[in-house]
Amino acid sequence: MSATPASDGANPRADALISIRGLSTVLNGKTIFDGIDLDIPRGRITAVMGPSGTGKTTLMRHITGQLAPDAGEIRVDGQDVTRISRDALFGLREKIGYLFQNSALLTDYSVFENVAFPLRQHLKLPEAIVRNIVLTKLQAVGLRGAADLMPSELSGGMVRRVALARAIVRDPMMIIYDEPFVGLDPIALNQILKLIRTLNDTLGVTSILVAHELAAVRRVADRIYLLAGGKIVAQGGPDELARGGTPWTQQFFNGEADGPVPFHYPAPDYATQLGLAGGKP
């Protein structure tokens, strides 16, 4: 028994639910990832942060097998998602809750049916049990009273909470939150933050939080990876990173407009493009 904590301390990989090695991806000629190594520990909230367009969502798509990388290994719960069969991948996905950036509720179905969807598709449960599970999950996100509404009748924050209820309806081992704070008012944002923390503590799930709202992330994340320019430029606990002195963290955490993450999209020489170079009109 005494070996367990020791091995935890010595080798964090043994405790990792997700372990990524040498991940490289090129999309439309642009290098998104350039040999990334990354571990997501079990039972914790890990945040993946970075400027827009650095491939945070792409990374989640790799982890869930929606997109195959050009090179590298992605192990989720011991299985390499780049190699397993579609059936095995679907089996794995049944254990993952995924909160989409735009929530992706099924617009033809009511709130209740949206949350019940994963249950009805995979388990043959009596209607009474489905009803109880769905109402429990809706209660957890505070929307039991909205069960009969259609997604089009909900506000942005409510839509996201319904999507969260749907993501947890099968008690997953892991929840991926893709930009859960975008477009939320401070009240809704706090509600989501509280839910992320509560779910993690009560259900013991592993959470991956993709976001760039620093203030919000600092309040819940146990560990932060900072992605930029196809690499992991910083990692560590929130306070550790905030104190840390790399130019990347400086720029990102202080919100500086220019720095290692350039203000300008790659472009040909300005003067040349304006026709000013070489004295030409």
Partner: protein, 256 residues
């Protein structure tokens, strides 16, 4: 070199589209057994693409039949052959007009809505969300619509034919004074169930399959933008119409 290649590029793109569509058909067929689990969804789709198309199909069928009755009555009267009105109307409807016009209407009414619906599901990540919930969207979204098209089209074509004959009867018998008995007896004597009616139904089944294949393919592979969905919807109508008329010619040649 480029001068030679340039005109071939659209051809190559077109061939690639047809190839991708073929692979898509193969994937639908592979998902069909699984989609039997979603029988309720298939029934719902038969309602949407079939029952909801009834009004337009019935209205158009009635007017096509009335125009046929009017035109043919005058043409036939030149040769003193107005007695054959019922036969000619029924044969043209069962063999050609019924399946083809129904297919063109179906492409405009049901095909576009299938493309737009699946395209918007794609654009709002609903397709990806299903994949993430370990539900195969081909089995849950695409296959039921494909089956619904195959089931609904022959029924819609039959309704179109019936209303067309009724329209011709209205004009020929009720308005222009053709004898009721002549109209029906000549028709029943000269229309063959297998040669005319069933062959027409085969055609409409094929059209239903092709139109829903094109509609689902366009929706499924659309660019996830409003412009992408708009283009996909247009392409559905254009390609479905062309495919319908081409397949009609080929099938007519073989079924004759």
């Amino acid at each position: 070199m480029n001068v030679l290649r340039a005109p071939l590029l659209p051809l190559r793109a077109g061939l690639a589209q047809i190839g991708a569509c073929g692979i898509f058909l193969f994937r639908i067929l592979r998902a069909l057994p699984l989609s039997l689990r979603y029988l309720r969804e298939t029934v719902r789709q038969v309602y949407f693409v079939g029952a909801m198309s009834l009004v337009i199909i019935m209205t158009c069928g009635l007017f096509v039949g009335m125009v046929l009755g009017l035109q043919l009555y005058h043409t036939l009267s030149i040769f003193g052959g107005t007695a054959a009105l019922g036969t000619v109307v029924a044969l043209s409807l069962y063999r050609e007009l019924g399946p083809v016009v129904t297919a063109l209407l179906f492409a405009g009414r049901a095909g576009t809505s299938i493309t737009a619906e699946i395209g918007l599901m794609r654009a709002t990540d609903q397709i990806d969300a299903m994949e993430m919930m370990a539900v195969d969207p081909l089995a849950f979204v695409v296959a039921p619509r494909f089956l619904a098209g195959i089931i609904a089209m022959p029924i819609l074509a039959s309704v179109f034919n019936s209303l067309g004959i009724l329209g011709a009867h209205l004009v020929g018998v009720s308005w222009l004074g053709l004898d009721n008995g002549t109209f029906w007896s000549n028709m029943t004597a000269n229309v063959d169930v297998w040669e005319d009616v069933i062959n027409g139904l085969w055609k409409s089944t094929a059209f239903g399959a092709v139109i829903t294949l094109i509609a689902t393919f366009q929706g499924y592979s659309t660019a996830p933008t409003s412009e992408g969905v708009a283009y996909a919807t247009t392409r559905t109508v254009v390609f479905s119409s062309i495919a319908t008329l081409m397949i009609d010619f080929v099938m007519t040649a073989f079924l004759m």
